[in-house]
Amino acid sequence: MIRTLIATLAVLLIGVSALAGLTHGFSALTTETARREAVAARPIEIPALVGVDQFGQHQAMVTSGDTRVAIVDFIYTRCTSICLALGDSYQRLQDQILAAHLEQRLRLVTVSFDPVHDTPAAIADYADRMRVNPAVWTVLTPDDPAQLRTAMSTFGVIAKAADFGQFVHNAAFNIVDRHGRLARIVPIDQPRLALQTARQIDALP
C-alpha cells in the first residue's frame, strides 16, 4: 500500500511538472501566450526585410539609421476582418503619436504577407484608404518571398489560406526596439497598451 502511495505521489509530481513545463508554469495555454512571454523575457533579433513602400520606393522594415521604436503588424490588404480592426487601431495610434509629438520617437510599420496580391499599387491604394501619414507610418510589400518567410517565422506570424481567397492568420502589435530586436508582443485588442509599451521600450537605453 505504501509503495503504491509513493508511486502515486511520484506520478502526480511528474504529471504536474510536465503540465507546468508545457504551459510555462500554467500561464500559457496557447502558443500565442507562450511566445508573448518568451519575447518579453528575452528580445529576439529580427532578420532583414526589404520591400516596396506606399511611394513605390524600396525600403527596409528596420533601417540602422532609424532609431525610432517601431510597432509592426502583418496584414493583407484584401482582408475583411481582423486586418480592418487592426487598420483602425493603427489610424488611431497614428493620430495619438502625432498629437503627442512622438513622431521622432515612435513609428508604425505595416507589412503585407501576401505580396502576390499586394502589389506596390495595392499598397499605395491601401495607404490612401487608411490616410497614412508617411512621417509616422510605413506600409511595405516585401520583395523576396524567402525574406518574408523568415520574417514571419521570427515574428510568429502564421497565415493559412482559407475559403474565398482569404487568409486565416494571427495578428499582434509587435514592438521592435531601436536595436532592431522584437522586444514585446501586445494582443491586437489592446492598442492602448501597445502605445504605452512602445513608450516604455523607447525609455530603455
Partner: protein, 194 residues
C-alpha cells in the same frame, strides 16, 4: 472465454494496432494532422486505445512487484490521465502540428500512457474504474466546451471553425463513450452473474 472468441479478439487487436500505425505515418498521418478534429479525435484516441487494449491483453498482467507499486492500477491510471490531459491543451496540439520532434514525443507518450492504462485497468476495481472514467469524461467535456466557447483561435496551426467543431465532437464523443462503457459493463455484469 472460448478459443474462437480469443482468436477474434486477437485479430481485432492486430487490426486496431495496424490502423494506429497507418494513422501516424505519412501519408495518412500528415493528412490527419492538417485538422484539429482529426488530430485530436481520430489520431490521438486511436494510438491511445490501440496501446491500451494491447496492454490489457498482456498475460500475465501483474506479478507481486506490480501489485505492490501499482495496487488497483491507481498510479498507472493517474499517469495516463496526465498524458491525455497534456495532449488536450492547444499549445501541445500546436507544437505537434508544427514540429516533428514534438509529434514523435506525442506518439511515444500516448503509446506508453495507453499501454500503462491498459495494464492498470485490469488491476483496478469497478469503483476505481468508474472514478477514473468519470474524471476523464468530465475533463474532456470541459475541454470540449472551452473549445466551443472560445472567441479566439487557440491553435495557430488550426482554423477557428475547426476548433469549434472539435469542441462539439469532443463533448459528443465523451458522452457516447461513457454511455457505451456503462452499457457494456452492465451487460458483462449481468452475463457473469447468470
Amino acid at each position: 472465454m472460448s478459443r474462437e472468441r480469443t482468436r477474434w479478439h486477437r485479430i481485432g487487436l492486430v487490426v486496431l494496432i495496424a490502423l494506429a500505425v497507418i494513422a501516424v505515418v505519412p501519408p495518412l498521418g500528415s493528412w490527419l494532422m492538417q485538422s484539429m478534429l482529426t488530430q485530436m479525435l481520430v489520431q490521438i484516441p486511436l494510438i491511445f486505445f490501440a496501446a491500451a487494449i494491447w496492454g490489457s491483453r498482456r498475460q500475465p498482467v501483474y506479478g507481486p512487484v506490480w501489485q505492490r507499486w501499482n495496487a488497483q492500477g491507481v498510479p498507472g491510471l493517474l499517469g495516463a490521465t496526465f498524458c491525455l490531459a497534456c495532449w488536450m491543451t492547444p499549445i501541445a496540439l500546436d507544437h505537434a502540428a508544427a514540429d516533428p520532434a514534438w509529434n514523435a514525443a506525442k506518439v511515444v507518450s500516448l503509446v506508453a500512457g495507453g499501454w500503462i492504462a491498459g495494464i492498470s485497468w485490469r488491476c483496478a476495481s469497478n469503483i476505481t474504474r468508474i472514478f477514473y472514467l468519470g474524471n476523464m469524461v468530465w475533463m474532456s467535456i470541459t475541454v470540449g466546451m472551452l473549445y466551443q466557447e472560445s472567441n479566439q483561435r487557440l491553435c495557430n496551426a488550426y482554423l477557428w471553425d475547426d476548433q469549434a467543431v472539435t469542441g462539439q465532437v469532443l463533448v459528443a464523443a465523451s458522452i457516447v463513450f461513457a454511455i457505451g462503457w456503462l452499457i457494456r459493463h452492465t451487460a458483462l455484469t449481468v452475463r457473469s452473474s447468470n
